[in-house]
Symmetry: C2
DNA sequence: GCCGAAAATATACCAAAGTATAATATTTCT
DNA sequence: AGAAATATTATACTTTGGTATATTTTCGGC
């Protein structure tokens, strides 16, 4: 495997949990099983790329309901549904809401493994993107208000002279803030700064 | 409606075609119906945002097969499937391959209309993005080889002096090419050029 | 080989950007 | 209020970027 990863299995049927535990352990993937969404939430998530195998139909909160609430709970884990009794609309809607797969029992073991690997890969990519975005965001937050203003106008293509006029400060102040912004953003060149701020959506951050 | 648009309906059942024709005409959407994918291909597509309503099961090429071949045929139209006899896997796979909806008869008229409007909106967005990308690409193609080289290095953050050294030309030549590149790309400032070329993937274009 | 067009280069100049030092103003904390 | 920290501004200088004009070079076609 390329690095550590975890598969969370939520199914009320203990025989299913045991079977999936065996299957995944046999290919060397770390597995955590739960008999309900509540139990999963109580345990929490590990800090590693992962994938959630979710039973559609369960006592208490159904897998479908849980899937819908995941975003609100801040859980971005890719989901692979498994079910004994599903209908077309349910499967279609699940995929439309972003699920990786919707498998009906009995399903082929390899099909499930492929879906899980796919999900783990997607989660790995997502985590990388989030980490990068967070780093840029943290750097941006380290700029003073004045430095952010200058940086924003610099990236818009204004000259130092124009920025000084817009902000009603001296051109020297603009140069100081600009240099400071470059240092804090860890941008060696102006194109670097443009690319970094491009990941920020400066309109939304003012 | 926000601008012109077309809905293509492909279904071998003439009563379905007539019903959809009525339904869509009643809300003021232009409709073209076909009894097979072949007939649709023979007619060709209009130059307007659109959506394809596709029967899953047809004599000759099935809707599912056609959907898979659309990318290869250069058809990016959003697809809404309708079917009388489908199974979960078929619906799930269709959505996974990018279909907007997978509806089983009998379906609610409003559900279909919503899906179609959704598809048209997506196609409109896609067409806009493609048009913008094409414009940038055309501008880039208007640069001479030397101008492209200079522009690429400029965007990487190199100084004119460094670019001259890398390309083994004089710094004055770099300045001329650089100015010419800015003019041809219609970039008023360096940040503009960075953003424009960012849409190009310069690695792939050499 | 000669010619015309396009590209490259040289020269000269000005505006803009980057940097360092120091002085002044402002804010913040005690 | 007073002191320390921070921000702003001024001055001076260097490097870089942008532009215009003129000259030279290069290259394809006749």
């Amino acid at each position: 495997m390329t690095g550590p990863c975890v598969v969370y299995v939520i199914d009320d049927d203990s025989s299913v949990r045991a079977a999936l535990d065996d299957l995944l352990a046999s290919v060397g993937i770390r597995v955590l099983t739960f008999d309900s969404t509540t139990a999963f939430l109580a345990h929490g998530m590990e800090d590693a790329p992962g994938c959630l195998v979710l039973d559609v139909r369960m006592p208490g909160q159904s897998g479908i309901d849980f899937h819908r609430r995941m975003a609100g709970l801040g859980i971005a884990l890719p989901v692979v549904f498994i079910t004994g009794h599903g209908d077309i609309t349910m499967g279609v809607d699940a995929i439309k809401h972003g699920a990786i797969e919707f498998l009906t029992k009995p399903f082929n073991d390899q099909t499930l493994l492929d879906a899980i690997q796919n999900g783990i890969g997607k989660d790995r990519d997502r985590r990388r993107a989030v980490a990068e975005s967070e780093m840029v965001r943290a750097r941006w937050a380290s700029l003073s208000a004045g430095e952010q203003e200058v940086a924003r106008l610099v990236v818009q293509g204004l000259l130092n002279k124009q920025i000084a006029s817009v902000l009603d400060v001296s051109e020297i102040t603009v140069k100081v803030r600009r240099a400071q912004a470059m240092r804090k953003m860890d941008a060696r060149t102006l194109p670097d700064l443009v690319r970094l701020t491009g990941k920020l959506d400066l309109d939304g951050l003012s």
